[in-house]
Symmetry: C2
Amino acid sequence: MLNQSASLDLMFQALADPTRRVMVERLSRGPAAVSELAKPLAMSLSAVVQHLQVLQASGLVRSEKVGRVRTCRIEPAALRIAEDWIAARRAIWERRLDRLGEFLAAHPDEPNQGSNS
Amino acid sequence: MLNQSASLDLMFQALADPTRRVMVERLSRGPAAVSELAKPLAMSLSAVVQHLQVLQASGLVRSEKVGRVRTCRIEPAALRIAEDWIAARRAIWERRLDRLGEFLAAHPDEPNQGSNS
C-alpha cells in the first residue's frame, strides 16, 4: 500500500489534467463503460485507456471487466482524501486569522503603540 | 487571466509534489521568508525557489520582496477553488447515492422482481 504522501502525489497528478477531470466528472454522475467515457473526448480509445490507467493508479477510479465490457466507477473515499488535505490547510490558515482578529479586538490600542514616539 | 481549467491544471500539478505540499503546509501557519521555507527541506535554496515558482504560477502562493527579504504567503481563495472542484464532484456522487436509496426505499419489492421466475 502506498503511503499517504505518495497517494496524494498520484491523486493530485491525476487531477492535473483536463481530460482526466472530464472523466472524473462523468463518473461522479454514475458508473460508465470505457467506450462511454471516451465518447465526448476527441482522442483515440487507447489514449482514453492511458488516462484511465493514471486515474486507477491514483485510486480515484476503479474498474471491473464483466464479459467484454470494462465498467469504471469513482472511488469517493479517495476524492475525500485529496479534498481533506486541502481543506485542512485552509482551516489552519483561517483559524490563524481568527486568532489574529481576537487578539486585535482584545488589544485595540496596541498596534499603534510605539509609533510616532 | 487563466481560464478555470488551466488554473486547476496548475494548482493540482503544484500540489502533486511532497516538497511543495510541505511548503503549503508551512505557509498555512503564517507567512514566511524563503530562507525559512527552505530550512526544513533537504535541498538547495535554488531548488526551493523553483518549487516556489511553481506554487506562485498556480496562484496558490504569492510573495513580496521588501528590502532583501522575500516573504511568501498562501492564497486561501486559490486553495478553495481546488477544494471546491473536488467537493462538487463528490457531492454529485453522494446525491446520486441518496436518490438511489430513496428509490429503493420507495420500491422495496422491485429489486428482486423477475428473478427466480
